[in-house]
């Protein structure tokens, strides 16, 4: 990193929000840097959530959440098509188990209609069990929402950042912002553990740490409260359990525990919602699992904990007021805070990016389209090819014939592609290819993947990490 780097815009945080902004701004003639403390993009909250593209009926009319969720949702077909990311509008059902809850369904529907959510309707009895046969017969009625979808949140974040990079954005990984100061000429000085960067405009999209970044500038206007959510993933052999995202009647703070048919063909159950004080606490708990199982079994009794193949926890970066905070700093021109982006932040991200571009323009940034902008991002998706196409490809490159991950059928060719796209850690490969995400959880493929990484990246095996920093897999050579 050269000391003299001056960027038009620096974005702190390569989550889905920061990556969306970077990609959106990469259509303009701007010199942009996306700065991320983790070893890969998306390794904050954006890789650990429900992956649901919400419709927007949960949020109070007039809030940023309601508006940006509905707009964001409508942008997903085009966005995912451009980025080659799987997205499915599977629809959702909010189910009422008691007669007295029917009123709440009506209220949600009215609220959604106010927010301009299309297609909401109430379904009852037989029609319901026809489309979701595994629902308990105790369900009285459900609010059906056709625009709810599922996406792979980490694939999306990675593709956004990779496409931004293709369009000229500098991505600085393993680079933690330690301090932000200002010069008299308005330049922002961003100090990282690797050196100093200068920017004319600075965007704070640091998720859980957005309050700490703001505080570096003397802005104590908001505090981020981490709210943990645990999620559990079931074996693909249970993928027929539900076809729609199943919501319970929402609680005060949360949308409740969901049953989600993920875009990759697993069923996922969760999340919990627990306010904690440690921004690094990603522990799953026995209590969380029990609570989730109890709740989802009340709606789909066939769910069995023996089918769980993976679990994780994510931290929502909630604001104290409850709504998103997206605004220029009152004190410093050209500094924009994006904070409190908890759910539906994934859904809203593309709309947030547009809004941020508008704010930047208001702050004086010139947005001039560049001709070379390429919104379409493509790489080989072996899994989705026809048998004939696969055969063609293997003829050209033998590595596509070598299956490395036996549970998800990922080939050596795809692992090499992931490394070429930027994967540098084992989890980086996992989240790009699904290698190691199946029922054996990497038992078979880990050594094979690490050998490919060793050759492609030219690093010794003991230097390979799970997710950066000190997460090395191996200690060293045997005696």
């Amino acid at each position: 990193m050269k000391k003299t780097d001056i960027f038009d815009v620096i974005i702190i945080g390569a989550g889905v929000v920061g990556s969306c902004i970077a990609r959106f701004l990469s259509r303009y003639k701007l010199n942009i840097a996306l700065v991320e403390k983790e070893a890969e993009v998306g390794f904050g909250t954006s890789k650990a959530n429900s992956g649901v593209i919400h419709a927007g009926f949960h949020d109070r009319p007039g809030t940023l959440k309601a508006n940006l969720c509905v707009t964001g949702n409508s942008m997903f077909d085009k966005l995912c098509e451009e980025l080659n990311v799987p997205f499915k509008r599977c629809g959702a059902l909010v189910v009422a188990l008691e007669n007295k809850e029917l009123k709440i369904l009506e209220k949600l529907k009215a609220q959604g209609e106010k927010n301009k959510v299309p297609g909401l309707k109430i379904i009852r009895d037989d029609d319901l069990f026809q489309i979701e046969p595994n629902l308990t017969r105790r369900v009285k009625a459900a609010l059906y929402s056709p625009t709810v979808g599922v996406v792979s949140p980490y694939e999306l974040t990675m593709a956004l950042a990779e496409n931004a990079k293709q369009n000229g954005v500098r991505i600085l990984l393993d680079t933690e912002v330690k301090d932000v100061t200002f010069q008299d000429n308005g330049a922002k000085v961003v100090k990282t553990q690797k050196g100093v960067l200068f920017a004319k405009y600075l965007v704070n999209a640091a998720g859980l740490f957005a309050d700490e970044i703001a505080r570096m500038t003397g802005d104590n206007g908001f505090t981020i409260v981490p709210r943990k959510g645990e999620e559990y993933i079931l074996d693909k052999k249970r993928k027929e359990l539900v076809k729609h995202v199943i919501f319970p009647i929402p609680q005060r703070q949360t949308k409740g525990v969901l049953i989600i048919p993920t875009v990759d063909g697993n069923i996922m159950i969760g999340p919990t919602s627990q306010v904690i004080d440690d921004k690094f606490d990603l522990n799953t708990t026995g209590k969380g699992l029990q609570m989730i199982l109890e709740k989802v079994r009340k709606i789909v009794p066939a769910i069995n904990d023996r089918d769980i193949i993976a679990s994780f926890a994510g931290l929502r970066a909630s604001s104290e007021g409850g709504d998103f905070i997206i605004q220029p700093s009152a004190k410093i021109r050209g500094f924009i805070n994006i904070a409190g982006i908890d759910s539906p932040g994934l859904t809203a991200a593309p709309a947030i990016a547009m809004m941020v571009a508008e704010i930047l323009k208001g702050e004086g940034l010139k947005l001039v389209q560049k001709d070379s902008y390429q919104p379409s991002y493509r790489w080989i998706k072996f899994r989705e090819l026809s048998p004939e196409q696969k055969e063609e490809l293997i003829k050209k490159d033998k590595r596509y014939g070598n299956v490395v991950c036996r549970c998800e059928n990922v080939t050596e060719g795809e692992i090499v592609d992931a490394i070429k796209r930027g994967a540098r850690t084992l989890d980086g490969i996992k989240f790009r290819t699904r290698a190691g995400m199946g029922r054996c959880q990497g038992g078979f493929c880990t050594p094979r993947i690490m050998r490919i990484m060793m050759n492609e990246l030219n690093i010794p095996l003991e230097k390979i990490t799970k997710r950066g920093r000190k997460s090395n897999i191996l200690w060293g050579k045997t005696k």
Binding site: L282, I309, I394, G401, N402, N409, G443, F444, P447, I473
Partner: protein, 417 residues
């Protein structure tokens, strides 16, 4: 798509698949094709460099690679046995067609007269036990750690706790100690060890490694790399007892908590699976519920000795060859076997009651001074001691028993003497 034809196609080249290939060839099968996704023959055996293999079969104490080599050498002399390594079987459809791929040939189809499933097993993961806590680097299944140490020459870590006292875990406790790591404890939830007694003595006691029976791991600590585990004593319901928790600092956790027969392909082929073994329901010829598909070894049930695996492989290979040649008569009457008192699993589950039948049996609970009983007491055998961690083999000479033709079901049970 390219098609290959064979008399008998065998999926998996571990001891089960190799024994099946040799016996199919001996029985006169024309073309025997063996497929394995690994880089060498022998299945899991090349990484089992300790001894204890072949005591029954060869009356010799061999290492895993030595045991495998005896079969590999013989396979290499057989012109009619064709081996394809680094070849993964993707699918077996309901018409017994096999879809496979490798980097040299791409995706191809195999049409065989009969199939032998010998895919072995995989290890249970942390996720199946729902251990709470974080997800750092440094958590390995024991077999994966064995592969790192024995095949790749890398040490996973320096301070190790092992959960589960299955054989792989016990053997790795010794192996890692010899490589200079400190094994701080082997933690087992049951009141008795999961692996063979000889392994408890030779791998733990000889190295003063503590075995914590009736204990389990209740929490995993560590952000990037594992930092510690919480261990607690359990009550009779296997629930952690509050107040008994202690923290053991470590950088590595090995899981030896059980093996699962690898039957995703079998399910695609529509084969019936026995929930108590996790493998296909088979008859005494090792034929599955789909005519012409046979199975053997750890894909059928988890065996503790490779000798049994080879034995089943031979039975499966022979009958697969007979079937391919059109010489295998399907039995007229069949008898379903039921699991009686203190029986956890039983293979074969179906018999035609001709000739001698070898049963492989696991019990639920340890017991002393008992007998194995067939039916009310058509046939029985004394047994001084039975344990869940030791598979019982039992030969029943049906030709001598003269069962009535109308017998449709028989129970096998363990009774007090």
């Amino acid at each position: 798509m390219r098609e290959i034809k064979a008399d008998v196609a065998i999926i998996g080249a571990g001891p089960a698949g190799l024994a099946a290939a040799l016996s199919a060839e001996r029985e006169g099968a024309g073309e025997v094709l063996v497929l394995d996704r690994g880089e060498e023959l022998g299945g899991i055996l090349p990484q089992c460099i300790h001894n204890g293999f072949g005591l029954h079969r060869f009356k010799e104490d061999l290492t895993g690679p030595e045991y495998a080599q005896r079969f590999i050498d013989e396979v290499k002399t057989k012109r009619k046995i064709d081996v394809k390594l680094k070849t993964i079987v993707l699918e077996i459809n309901q018409n017994k067609e096999v879809l496979a791929t490798n980097s040299e040939e791409g995706i191809f189809k195999i049409r065989a007269n009969s199939l032998v499933l010998a895919m072995g097993c995989r290890e249970k993961t942390r996720e199946m036990l729902h251990i709470p806590g974080s997800r750092p680097a440094g958590i390995f299944t024991a077999g994966l750690a064995q592969q790192w140490v024995n095949l790749e020459g890398y040490l996973p870590g320096r301070e190790v706790v092992i959960l589960g006292s299955g054989d792989v875990g016990l053997i790795m406790a010794r192996r890692l100690t010899l490589e200079g790591a400190e094994v701080k404890a082997v933690v087992e939830i049951m009141p008795y060890p999961g692996g063979l007694t000889r392994n408890v003595v030779q791998c733990l006691q000889d190295f003063d490694i503590p075995l914590l029976l009736e204990h389990t791991i209740t929490f995993i600590h560590g952000k990037d790399r594992l930092e510690a585990v919480s261990v607690a004593k359990v009550n009779s319901k296997k629930e952690p007892i509050p107040g008994t928790e202690k923290i053991i600092p470590c950088d590595t956790l090995l899981l030896s908590v059980g093996l699962i027969p690898e039957n995703e392909l079998s399910s695609l082929a529509g084969i019936e699976i026995d929930p108590s073994t996790g493998g296909p329901v088979v008859d005494e010829r090792m034929q599955t519920s789909v005519e012409g598909i046979f199975a053997c070894g750890n894909v059928v049930q988890i065996n503790d000795l490779v000798d049994y695996v080879s034995q089943q492989g031979e039975v499966a290979g022979k009958n697969a060859a007979l079937y391919a040649l059109g010489k295998l008569e399907q039995p007229k009457g069949v008898i379903n076997l039921k699991k009686g008192r203190n029986i956890r699993s039983l293979v074969p589950q179906i018999i035609s009651a001709q000739g001698k039948v070898s049963f492989f049996i696991r019990v639920k609970n340890p017991e002393q001074k008992v007998k194995l009983v067939l039916g009310k007491s058509i046939f029985q055998q004394k047994n001084p001691i039975v344990k869940p961690n030791q598979m019982i083999t039992w030969e029943v000479p049906f030709e001598d028993l003269r069962l009535n033709d109308d017998v449709k079901e028989l129970e096998v049970s363990i009774r007090k003497l």
